[in-house]
Amino acid sequence: MQIVRLFAGGTRTPGWWAAAVVGLALPVSYLAGSIHNGSLTGRSAYFLLTMTVGIGVGLWAWAWRPGTHMGPLMFWWPALWLAGDLPAAFPDSRTASTIGIALFVMGPIAFAQMALSYPTGSLMRSRLAWVYVFVLGYAAQVVQNGYNLLFLDLSACPLCPPPRAPSWLHVDATPPISLEDWNDGWLVFVIAILPIGLFLLYRAYVRANPAHRRSLGPVVATATFITCTSWITSYAVLTDRFSVLTPISWLQTTGALAAALTALIGIAVARRARGPVGALVSELNRVGPGHVRDALARALGDPTLELALRLPERGVWVDEAGRELTLPTGRERAVTIVGDDLAALVHDPVLLDQPALLDAAGSAARLALENERLQVELRAQLAELRRSRARLVRAGDEERRRLERDLHDGVQQRLLAIGMALPRLRRELADRAMASALVDDLEHDLRETLQELRELARGIHPAVLVNEGLDAAVRALAQRAPLPVGVQTPADRLPGDVETATYFVVAEALANVTKHAHATAATVTIERRDGHVRVEIADDGVGGAGANGSSGLAGLSDRVGALDGRLLVDSPRGRGTRLVAEIPCGS
């Protein structure tokens, strides 16, 4: 029942069905042949069981891993291995000999291919692994097996191990190289190349990232074990130490069984994967926004996991900080979409082997991800608001500068020109006392106007702030205040925005002190510390000033806020007023 349920679902292609037929036929015929020919031993039964388990696991994996070569590879290695041993079940059958000799050692080579290409099923990432499997493995073995198909014939040796019958391709001719020499040469070749396989396995393990290693470990371990037993077998045959062959064969079969079982367990664990997802659900309830990625990375066991959120309004993907990004398309990274274009997990392709885990984790994190996306959108809007406020303040300052310039260069120049013409008018009117007095009045009004103009322009935008800096501008403010003002400012210049904001904070604060505080003295302290500029204006007046009451203070709050700073007013009734602005100011 459990088996039926395990096989329900998944994707089955015509290729899979063909493999299933082969996978069923092979063990059945092997068993039937062994019983019929009386060749079934404990060892061959163990071998048959192992390969049958391997074939079953392979078919299951194939159905659950569409899209990679991994499923077929997991099926083919035990199938080929079993087929290569068919002569043991049918020692005197020429058909069995033909199949057995043709597929001799192809099973272990397929196993090596599977192990070295785990988990993607592709060997394209390593040229050496490709050469090892396809050239030194399959191609060399085709040559070796072809020679034996043509010349091997042990029918005259009833005590020899199978295959004793010649293949259907057998030719009655003397081989150019004696079969003994040929096969000894092949053994030497095998003994020489197997260490390359060990090196490749070691390298694949070392290069894998931690998440990858967790699933790669059992594969590498069993493959290493099988490679070592293969080497010992080859060496024993070459040096005629036949006594070790039986125990080694038991060991090797055990290694293969372990490979099949760990693959089975691996898939079962990956399919269920309730543990990490359960932990994820409870963790997502605890962590705040901004930590969903970390929680997912832990649940999926992939520290390289990246999280992309979809902003539908802008039609872009962004990371958790709101930075735009593009989803990768290469083989190195895999992308799993969560929800209806809600988020994307960019992860190690090894996780594609665990679609159920990805699916479950995505579902579990869905609400948190939607929250995360809202947060990102909010942050983006907030950042835009900040930028827009800063732009407004800057535009306002620009406008003030322009106004000041127009007053000085337009209005004032014209008034001065008029004033310079007045003396001549007075000379022309020298003999008319009334007119002359009128000119005097005009001149007086003109001087007053010019003075007012000068003060107006200075209030709108102090040119000295730009040219001489904050220290000079603030000292000038203090100088004009109708009460003693102590000033302490840094000598060095600050960024323009910061100087302007600081200046207007001081100007507004001193204006308030003058108008409302009834103070006898005030101090202005501007200091730089910890990447901030701190401005404090304190007086000894009546206090009771509120940040909300005064439109001037509200304007200052906006101005300081536009630079990500803050404004504090401490004004207890009867104990003076202290206004503090803190503005960030990179060194």
């Binding site: 001065l416 020109a417 004033g419 310079m420 009460l483």
Partner: protein
């Protein structure tokens, strides 16, 4: 006396030229910006250059920059800066350095031909001129208590004139005092305020202005 004028407003250039020529001063050239001014100064070697502090391109302190260039290229040329700003910082920048022969006047002074011409002559004679409005503002500054409180009314008068750039002789003439009396006042003032005595007129002005501003 030969002068050149720099002001970007044509109305002002014309008015100023006429005003100075009426007063018998030889206006040998007028420029609209700092570069034209420097050419005129190098070509005509005038006694004094009258410079608007605001000129293109930024309309802020080009006149002060031009003043520094004139002093560097044609030493001995007097520079009278006409300014829209009652700002001690600008005046200090002009007075700073080794040369006298300079003045910082508010632009409104073009309405007082006599005062303007008097200032021009003082600059040409090697003195320093600082606008009285600026000095007034510095002196009017409220201090809860300070060394200025220790000055007599007469001494405050003398201090103001020192800040305006007058020499002891000039102060004596202005206040109807004998030069010896003025010298004594000056010595007392400098002592009370802790300003080091310096015979160079521009350094004395600088010291007094800086003291008043601090």
């Amino acid at each position: 006396m030969r002068v050149v004028i720099a002001d970007d407003a044509a109305l002002l250039r014309q008015g100023l030229t006429r005003l100075l020529e009426d007063a018998g001063i030889d206006v040998v050239g007028a420029a609209a910006d700092a570069r034209g001014l420097l050419e005129l100064v190098e070509r005509h070697r005038p006694d004094v250059a009258i410079v608007d502090i605001r000129m293109p391109p930024s309309h802020t302190d080009e006149g002060l920059v031009a003043a520094e260039l004139i002093r560097a290229r044609v030493p001995g040329t007097g520079v009278l800066v006409l300014s829209q700003y009652v700002e001690a910082a600008y005046a200090l920048r002009l007075v700073d350095g080794e040369q006298s022969r300079c003045g910082y006047l508010l632009k409104d002074r073009v309405l007082d031909a006599e005062e303007l011409v008097a200032a021009l002559r003082r600059v040409a004679d090697g003195e320093v001129v600082v606008d009285p409005i600026l000095v007034d503002e510095l002196l009017a500054r409220r201090r809860s208590e300070g060394p200025l409180d220790g000055l007599t009314a007469r001494e405050r008068e003398v201090l103001a004139l020192m800040a305006e750039g007058l020499t002891d002789r000039g102060i004596a003439a202005r206040l109807w005092l004998t030069p010896r009396t003025v010298e004594t006042h000056v010595r007392h003032i400098l002592q009370k305020l802790g300003i080091p005595a310096d015979t160079a007129v521009n350094r004395r002005v600088h010291a007094v202005l800086a003291y008043l501003r601090a």
